[in-house]
Every structure is written in C-alpha cells, then in structure tokens.
Amino acid sequence: MAGIAVSTTINGDNIEYLCQPDETLLDVLRDRLGLTGAKEGCGTGDCGACSIILDNRLVCSCLVLGAEAEGRRIETVEGMAHGDQLHTLQQKFLEHAALQCGICTPGFLIAAKDLLAKNPDPTEEEIRFGLAGNLCRCTGYDKIVRAVQDAAHVMKGA
C-alpha cells in the first residue's frame, strides 16, 4: 500500500514522513519518528498517556491519524524543555515527586501545560477536572495536583 506523504511541524521543527492511512499519529511519533515520549496505555482514548497538543488543542494522539497532521502544529513532551532548561512543570514534577513509575508523566505534563495555558490560576478542583482525562495508577494524584499548583504559582510570578 502506498504511503501518504505528510508534512507537519513537531516541537517547532518541520518534519516530513510517509504513513499508512490506518496509522495513528501516536504510532507515527513513536515508531516512525522515534519520539517515544508519548506512551500507549490503551490505544482507545481512555488513559491520556499519549497526550499531545495539536494546534493548541490537547488531544489523545492514539485517536488522531498520522495523515491528519498535515500542515498542523504538534507539541510533545520532548519539546517542553528549552535546551537543558526544564519547563517549570517538569521541574515541579521532580521536586514534588509527582511521578513514581513515570509512564503517565509525559501525558500529565502536556495536559497540565495545556490547562495552565488556558487557565493560569486554576483552583484545586479545576486542576482535578482538567487532568481527569489522564490516568495515573501509582500516585493517587496528590503530588501531581500539588506540583501543578506550585508550577502555576511560579509561572504566574514569572
């Protein structure tokens, strides 16, 4: 089967790839482009481990086709830090130990980044509902919520 040629922007870089019509964007990122930061926890849109930002919208990349990325702008966890300077959210996740196994972390970071971009001063409840599409089985969410609260606080001040 002939591949579909796609040209898109990922973390600010122009990227071109060929993909099959039934291939998800998650598979393209992971298997074709080597961007394995986004994880597959379910493949059905239920866990958020594959979260990315597509044209300023938080999406599950397992529910987007690779071909749909044509001409769009993609942000993944790999693009969050500037050089060796971690994003405030990344730093706060480390400081608060908001990860145990860490498999959910890329998804949470992306979802939290999207949340804070839209609501820089969220209440605890807004954080909890804003991150309700991301599953974490290790932490009980307590430290994740605190990390996001702390990051919001710092980012507001900045």
Binding site: A97, I103, F129
Partner: protein, 754 residues
C-alpha cells in the same frame, strides 16, 4: 565480610532527606525508555491469538494460511514450546498459561502467535489461523466453582490438605488452616457475636504500561531480552527453563517499568516472544494491547469470606474465625492461604481459626496485586470488627486498641511478633484531627487496620568507586517507584559522602548476581541492606588504601564522614584523606576500589497501617464521593519520606478504586465484558481528595537503619475503611465489594423495604 544487619540507633545525615531522584530528568523529558520504547534492527512485530471461549478443548490449529501470507516470518503454537518442565507443576502451569496446550481455560488464553514484518501483517495473519474448538461448560464464580456439579476445570486436581485424600477431583486445589486455641470454647465465653458473609470482585493491578518486550535469539544459542518486569533475574530463570536454555546465555535487561504492583512478576509474553524470535531468526517485539492486559494478564482473586467474631462485654475478643475462598484462575495458587494468614494478624487472640480454599475458575491466572490476598480478608474482618464494636457500644478505635497485637503476641498465623506498629498507628488515629472533624448530612466516617508480612530474599549489590571519587551503585531490584533515590541515600549515608556524588542503576542479569523480584515490599528493604553491606566492604578497602598511603597500620585508620582518619596521638599530624583523594591514588595502591554484597535479607519486619476516610453517599442514586482520606503507617525508617508518602497515597488510591468501582464483569458466556479503561474504571484525579499521610517510625530490629518494607500495606485497609464509612453513611452494612452505586442503592432499598 561478617555483616551485622541489626538495628543500631544512629543519627542520619542523608537518610530521611528528600532529594530529586537520579532517574527523574529522563522521566519528565520523555527520554526514559520503558518496555515498548526499545527497538532492534530488523525487528519483527509479534502478536498473539487468544481464545474467545472461557473453556474449550483445542481440537486442531491450522496455521498454514497464515504462514503463507507475505511478510509473515514465524507462526507458533504450543508445539513450538515443548514441555521441558520435567515434572515441575508450577512451571508447567506457567508454560500452559503462556500458550494453551490442550484446552483453552479462559477468555483471552493464548493459543497461537505470529511474527511479521509489521503490525498490520501480523494482525492479518492472526485472522488466517484456524482453530477448531470444542466448547466445554465453564464456571467463573468462586462459590459456584466449589459446588459438586460445577464444571471441572482440571480433572487431575484432588483437594490437598484434607484429612483424607478425596476420591473425586474438584476445583478446590487446597485447604489450608491457621490459628491456635479453641474457637468453640472462645465463642462460649462471648457476650456478643457477629457473623457475616462477604464478597469481593476481581480487580486488576491496572498499571498504565502494558506488558512489552523485545526478544532476540541468536543461532548460537544466546539470547537477549528487553522487558518491563519487576524481576528480570526471575524472568531469565523462567524463560531459560521454558525454552531449554542455560540461564547465563540469556541476558535480560529490565526497562523502566510503567507500574507493576505485583502484575509484572509473572512471564506471559516473554517466552512467546523468544520462541517467535528463535523460529524467525530475527528480533521480535511483543506488546500487549490494553484488552489483552485485562483478558490475559493477572487479575487478583475474587473472594467469598465468612467471618465470626465474639467478644465479652468489656470489649475483649474471645474468639475469631473465618472461612476464606479465593479464586486462583485455572491454575493452583496460594492466594487463600495468604488471606487466611493475614486475616486476623492485627489482633491479640487466644482463640483463632482461619481456613482457606483455593478455587479454580475459568478466569485468567491470578497474579499478585500489592499485598496479595490481604485486602479482601481485611475487608471482611475489619467490617465485622466494626459491627461488633457497635453492638458492644464501644468506639471502633478503642475496641481495636484493646485487642491490638503487641510485641510478644503470638500472631494468628504462627510467629511471635517483635516490636510492631499496630498499637501506635491506632493511637495516632485516635489523636488525629481527622477523627474529630465534623461530618455533614449523608456522610459517614470509617476506619480500618491492615497488616502485611513484607519479604526480604536474595539480593546482590555492586558499589564501584571511580578514580574521580564518584560512586556507581549497581542494584538488581527493579526500581518501581523511586528506589534508586533511596538506595543512593543509603550509600551516601554509609560512605559519608554527598548524594550527588553517587549514581544508582539497575544492572542487567549478566552484570550482577541473582536478585529476587521487587515484590513483597522488599526492594528498598533488602537492597538497602545489601547496599550498606557493600559500602562497609568498600570502606574496609578504603581504610586499607589510606593506611598504605600513610604507611601506617590499618587498625589505626577509621572512617569518619567520608574520610579516612588516622587515630591516636602518634598520627596526630596526618590529617584526613577524603574518598576522592584515596580513589585518585587507587591505581598505585592496588587497583580499583569496590564493595560487593550478596546476601539473603532476613527479618523484613511486619508492617501495619490504619486508615481513616469520610465518604458521602447520595441516597437517591447510591453514588459516592470520597471527602477526606488519611493514612497512618509504620515505615520502620523512611529513607526518602516523599516516596514513602507516595507509596501510602498510591496504595490508598488503588484501594479506593477497588472498594468503589473496579470489577471484572463476566457474561453468561464466560467472556470478559469490560476489558478496557472506559468500562473498567480506575480512579481519576477528580474522583479523589488529597490523601493525607502520617509516617510512624518504629525501627525494624533486623535492619541496620530500622527500615521496613512500605510498598504494600497501604492497600490493605482501604476496602474495609471505605466499607465502614459507606455503611455508616448509608445506615446499612455493605458486604459486597465494589460498592458501586447500584449495589449501594439496592442495599439502601432493601433496608428501607425491610
């Protein structure tokens, strides 16, 4: 090399602090490599064909069409995994579970597998494999499976542990019994007796990372396996045994692990991937889908438990008895046995008896799930304890304090306790502000206790000191949630150096001696013990080298705060030598400096926790909300308190899911109906409040720093604590978990109607 593991009270410099974990940056930048994040050149995609039937004879498998499909490089069935287990029944069960041999025993049981050039070809190939089944009657319910007329899952099983060997096979593989005293007499002395039956449904560990591995078998008989596992050394042994390889020829590297909770202690896909690779002559990557994780990988037992407890008016328990039935899936296990051991472990009892029954059902092979078997037993016992307190008119905390086990108590499962934390956790709960906080309408408060043994086991650590004075620590227990940070703290403590001077890694099976799994809450307990021992061995060498540099006797050199110090007036002007200075000279003083340790970590130190929670119940819909939650648990010594809190919170959250939502739902056809995160709903962020924690530190006498395992106990009390809270809020005793809205509503309506 005489290592003394006994607790010695000491002042800590590093242990007890909260530095950032050494693997942290990789995990927040997406760089950390988990099971599915690894690839090899020329790798194929593996896929497994699974039985759609709960119980069926496999009459014929025709793989010829699949083999002919372009791009398919190997197709395997049980024939490609011949039985090399040599009469080892447990290994044979593992083999049969990896690939069904004569019968499919549950919906999702593997029957064949393919390796192809890409995922699409592999999927197509599965559709071309023709399996002829003869469908057999099935049973999925634990109580039904015990009936005489129940379909027999394995006709070679005769119940073990009965006085007389039974003449007929049955689904009950084993009866086990624990206790002491005379319960009959004890109940005779009771003024109040509570007797109740309880049920819990089957849940899954629910790790977010599906099982994943990459296997590469060479034609020279060596192989490599990259895999997410809680125990790569054990995986190596199992895989080598099942494939007929020498263990040392199989190098297993554990990837970062995306959650396990006991579920990644068993091989499923790995022997299959190795067999595919062997047949195809190329590396094979095998990743389970979420559907496969639910249908085929290890859920916990479903249970049915009867409890009877009697007490005198003054609140003394006179007798306690329980019968516990645990489903094991289609293979024998020791799940009920563990349940029977833990059931009454929190209490000081003169008369106690527990009986466990292991029951075969047509469900996936039961796997460990965090303090396996203990939460269900605690749910039943702690519910009955609460009810009894109510009948006595006693405060539930006071009633438990009065009967709590202490140092010197003979436990219900046999051993006599050393210093333990059940009493202190109860006292802490009694004094906790949470217990006094006001409740609103439709809200109820519950509390409950939990116990877990904790394990130790075989452990091996290498500590290597570089010429620049930096230290690398190679451990063999997989890091499931921050243990590299904890072990670095322990090494820093013992060597007297800075945490930043160290780097801990998890070594592969060819680089370090054998280590047991990271299970039984043993990771930090046992590897910290081995780390301390390795560091002490390194210090001995460091002292020798310093003595050599100074040209004095090693007996005059002591190790203090990261430095060799010459002792005694005659060496007054020698000053100190830092670890760095000694390391820099190592090439001239005898070569590399290292400390090794191989030991069996004994005396893991039992662990207790008490939880409090407030639940709001909507009496119109039966829906619930967790309002507040507090965990109090003994850690012995919290090496990295933040990660200890994390273990407490994570266990509580899993318990909350189990108590309120999670369950395997089987149809009449024996098929699993909710094999996905949409229908098997684990708690999300908006379901939970903050989870408060209080760490108690009652030193474990069998560890130099007093450490106890902390990972598992936190999932033991929640089922009961929440059931007690819901029962108090709804005004009716809840006896069936999960307490989903329909169950709560039905209980409320039955109470109203009755």
């Amino acid at each position: 090399m005489n290592f003394d593991p006994r607790f010695s009270g000491r002042k800590f410099a590093s242990v007890g602090t909260r530095p950032i974990r050494p693997d942290g940056v990789d995990k927040v930048t997406g760089r950390a490599r988990y099971g599915a994040d690894f690839n090899m050149a020329g790798q194929l995609v593996g896929r497994v064909l699974r039985s759609p039937h709960a119980h069926a004879k496999i009459l014929k498998i025709d793989t010829s069409k699949a083999e002919k499909l372009a791009g398919v490089k190997a197709v395997i069935t049980a024939k490609d995994l011949p039985d090399l287990t040599g009469g080892d029944a447990a290994m044979y069960d593992i083999l049969d579970n990896c690939m069904a041999r004569t019968k499919a025993l549950y919906d999702g049981h593997a029957v064949a597998a393919v390796a192809a050039i890409d995922a699409r070809t592999a999927r197509q190939a599965l559709k071309l494999i023709e399996v002829e089944y003869e469908i057999l009657p099935h049973v999925t319910d634990v109580d039904e499976a015990m009936q005489h007329h129940a379909p027999l899952i394995n006709d070679t099983i005769f119940t073990e542990g009965l006085e007389e060997k039974p003449v007929k096979p049955s689904n009950v593989t084993k009866r086990s019994q624990f206790g002491h005293g005379d319960v009959h007499q004890g109940f005779g002395h009771a003024d109040f007796i509570v007797e109740r039956s309880f049920k819990t449904e089957q849940t899954h560990q629910g790790y977010i990372e599906p099982h994943a591995c990459v296997a590469s078998v060479s034609s020279d008989g060596t192989a490599e396996l990259w895999v997410c596992t809680q125990g790569h050394f054990v995986y190596r042994q199992h895989c080598a045994q099942l494939l007929g390889m020498e263990a040392s020829k199989l190098r297993v590297t554990s990837s970062e692990i995306g959650g396990g909770f006991g579920g990644k202690t068993h091989v499923w896909a790995e022997p299959v991937a190795l067999a595919l690779s062997r047949k195809a002559g190329r590396p094979v990557k095998l990743v389970m889908t979420r559907d496969e994780v639910f249908r085929a990988s290890g859920p916990t037992s479903a249970t049915s438990i009867d409890v009877k407890i009697g007490a005198r008016k003054d609140g003394t328990i006179t007798a306690a008895e329980a019968t516990l039935r645990y489903s094991a899936g289609p293979y024998a296990g020791s799940w009920a046995e563990i349940g029977a051991m833990t059931a009454f472990a929190c209490y000081k009892l003169d008369n106690v008896k527990t009986v466990g029954y292991e029951v075969l059902v047509n469900r996936p092979k039961t796997a460990a799930y965090r303090a396996p078997s203990a939460p269900m037993a605690a749910f039943a016992v702690e519910s009955a304890v609460d009810e009894l307190a109510k009948e006595l008119g006693m405060d539930p905390v006071d009633f438990r304090i009065k009967n709590a086990a202490q140092e010197g108590t003979r436990s219900s499962y046999g051993p006599v306790y050393g210093p333990i934390g059940i009493g202190p956790t109860l006292e802490a709960v009694k004094n906790h502000p949470h217990m006094k906080a006001p409740l609103k309408k439709n809200q109820g408060r519950g509390m409950a206790c939990g116990f877990w043994f904790n394990f130790g086991g075989q452990t091996c650590v290498d500590l290597n000191i570089g010429m620049d004075g930096s230290v690398s620590l190679a451990v063999g227990t997989v890091d499931v949630g921050g243990s590299r940070a904890s072990l670095s703290l322990v090494a820093a403590e013992e060597l007297g150096i800075d945490y930043a001077q160290l780097k801990a890694v998890v070594a592969d099976t060819s680089s370090l001696g054998y280590n047991d799994m990271t299970d039984g809450s043993r990771g930090t307990f046992s590897s910290s013990m081995a780390t301390i021992s390795a560091a002490r061995n390194a210090i001995k060498i460091l002292r020798e080298r310093a003595a050599q540099m100074w040209d004095i006797s090693v007996d005059d050199v002591v190790w203090e705060q990261g430095h060799a110090v010459a002792k005694g007036d005659k060496h007054g002007n020698l000053g100190k030598l830092s670890l760095k200075e000694i390391a820099a000279e190592s090439g001239k003083t005898g070569g590399p400096i290292a400390g090794h340790s191989e030991l069996v970590a004994d005396g893991a130190g039992v662990s207790f926790a008490t939880h409090i929670c407030d639940i709001e119940v909507d009496p119109e819909t039966g829906s619930t909300r967790v309002i507040r939650y507090t965990v109090v648990q003994d850690a012995g010594k919290a090496v990295h308190p933040t990660y200890v809190e994390g273990q407490y919170q994570g266990g509580a959250a899993q318990g909350i899911g189990w108590a309120l939502n999670e369950e395997y739902i089987y149809g009449k056809d024996g098929r699993l109906q909710n094999a996905g995160f949409l229908d098997y709903r684990i708690p999300v962020c908006s379901d939970l409040p903050m989870i408060d924690t209080q760490i108690l530190e009652i030193p474990n006498p069998n560890h130099p720093y007093g450490v106890r395992g902390v990972g598992e106990t936190s999932i033991v009390p929640p089922l009961a604590a929440i059931a007690n809270a819901v029962s108090n809020a709804a005004g009716v005793r809840m006896t069936h978990i999960p307490m989903s809205p329909p169950r709560i509503l039905a209980a409320i309506e039955a109470e109203r109607g009755g």
